[in-house]
Amino acid sequence: ELWKSFLNLKSFLFSYFSFRMIYTKRSDVLMMTPWFAPIVWEGTYNSEILNEQFRQRNVTVGLTVFLACGRSAEATGPTFLETAETYFMVGHRVNYYIFTDRPEEVPKVALKEGRNVVVLQVQNYPRWQEISMRRMEMLSYFSQQRFINEVSYLVCVDVDMKFNDQVGVEILSDLFGTLHPGFYTAERRSFTYEHRPASQAYVPSDEGDFYYAGGFFGGTVTEVYKLTKKCHEAIMVDKANGIEAIWQEESHLNKYFLYHKPTKILSPEYLWDDNLGRPEILKKRRFLAVPKNHAAIRNK
């Protein structure tokens, strides 16, 4: 029986090394939240495995953007769509849902197989803040009316961006949010949550997990519907009470994610602004802000 004891010792020693050796590819970042939502960083996932899982299910992903609506479509539209063709959900079925008040200005971009553009005409609003907040209303309406029958997942992003690297099925989950690039190492007290109790977006000062960016969130159609509906209702209540949350729908999004925790979180690789530099922690910059012409779009 001595051989068994030897085997035991050997197995024990190897077990110590093997758990360590095989796997810790990123030891510099938080890979999972305390409620088991993975945080997606380069080096934490295997695209081949994930692509095969999602291909087997033949999922279609909806990507929603709000185009023009007060800004020049020429500045942002083509770059967004062209780079999406190169980097977004490559190899999977994609519907681009383009909300616009000027359907004639939607750029014509050559699309790969299995990918479609759907133009949805919507009302324009004079203030950009209003446009921003009405997105929640429009997303919830169309989720119920249309998206639920056409796609499995929705990805809701800002349009003044361009794709710069892979954004694939690794992001998909029941409900996901993205870490805001300006706050991912900040302390809770610096998060720009709405702190006025009068607003529906109010978050008490001793609470909060992360500060999520309003420019990139998503999930299954059902979950996105619930989120956008809740946020829209909260915005309307605020309106009736004569208050507007400090960062508009982003404030309401953050409140929602605190009490309905995301099942997956995207690292700032997925929403970056080169003005913030290139920190060591950022191995990829997948989705980048395109420089805005602020003077042209900000209200006087």
Binding site: K4, S5, F19, R20, T24, F36, R188
Partner: protein
């Protein structure tokens, strides 16, 4: 609810893998907040079922299993224990917590323990189909010859859950634990494999466990028809299934620790472990390690190396 802020640049643990390559969480001590999880879970009013088999001499483990599970398993949440036994009269009476229920189900025994083991899959899939799918939301299969020493809570609840074996001591692709003979339905080709999963503790949603047990037992039946038996019986079939239907959550070896092994430091908590079957084994190992220490040139760095490797309880024995 108030709790410390999680920090993006401060990982909880850097000594072990926390997320699988397909982004399934791996449950280790120190990585989760059970209060948050409980708050999420309670809203949903789930019932969890546990299937376990105590056949022939294994009836002697019932008391230890149920007693410790009553205390440590999903404490405060509703659980139905489904105990299959060929000696229902030998089941001791145990005072269970109010949200825990025990169902004793008579079952046939087989002469070969391997057959008892492998037929568990069939029994489980039949019972899910006939009535468990109406009674529980999640179902777990556990060996009876185990005891729990620490809380096992809602962190185990997910769609398809496998436990990483405490015997995994080589890179999984090179592992010789997988069944490799191509004639067996459980065969995994060389170069493939994610982890080696223990058949002693697995589970998930009722529908997923139904699919798993049905598929595994189909493999067992086909092997039998061809006169083959997989190396580690239904565990081999389980590993094949979980390779091609990847779990949505993995439990670290904290959740099933083979008592024969000495626990390394990365296993900070022993939540559930097999019951020590043979104390003689432990004595022999102790002697071996003691002798090993004698042979090595004594020096402070070696002593600290040895103590670094071994957890406190083994140190006392040494």
């Amino acid at each position: 609810m108030s709790y410390p802020q999680p920090f993006v640049d401060k990982p909880q643990r850097t000594d072990v893998l926390l997320v699988s390559p397909w982004l399934a969480p791996i449950v280790w001590e120190g990585t989760f907040n059970r209060d948050i999880l409980n708050a999420q879970y309670r809203q949903k009013n789930f019932v969890v079922g546990v299937a376990t088999f105590a056949v022939k001499k294994y009836v002697r483990f019932i008391e230890g299993f149920l007693g410790s599970a009553n205390k440590f398993f999903l404490s405060g949440h509703r659980v139905n224990f489904y105990l299959f036994t060929d000696h229902p009269e030998k089941v001791p009476s145990i005072n269970l917590a109010p949200e825990k229920r025990l169902f004793i189900i008579p079952v046939q025994n087989y002469s070969r323990w391997q057959d008892i083991s492998m037929n568990r899959m069939d029994i489980i899939s039949n019972h899910i189909h006939s009535h468990w799918r109406y009674e529980v939301d999640y179902l777990y299969s556990m060996d009876i010859d185990v005891q729990m020493f620490e809380h096992i809570g809602v962190e185990i609840i997910d769609t398809l859950v496998g436990t990483i074996s405490s015997w995994q001591y080589t890179k999984p692709r090179d592992s010789n634990s997988y069944e490799r003979h191509p004639e067996s339905r459980a065969a995994i080709p060389h170069g493939e494999g994610d982890f080696y999963y223990a058949a002693s503790f697995y589970g998930g949603s009722v529908s997923e466990v139904y699919k798993l047990t049905t598929a595994c037992f189909k493999g067992v039946t086909e092997d039998r028809a061809n006169g083959i038996e997989a190396k580690w019986h239904e565990e081999s079939h389980l590993n094949k299934y979980l390779l091609y239907h990847k779990p949505t959550r993995l439990l670290s070896p904290e959740y099933y620790w083979d008592e024969e092994l000495i626990r390394p430091r990365i296993i900070r908590v022993k939540r559930l472990s097999s019951v020590r079957k043979d104390l003689q084994e432990l004595e022999r190992l102790t002697l071996l390690l003691g002798g090993l220490r004698e042979l090595l040139v004594p020096c402070s760095s070696l002593d600290s190396l040895v103590s670094f490797f071994f957890c406190r309880e083994a140190k006392c024995v040494l």
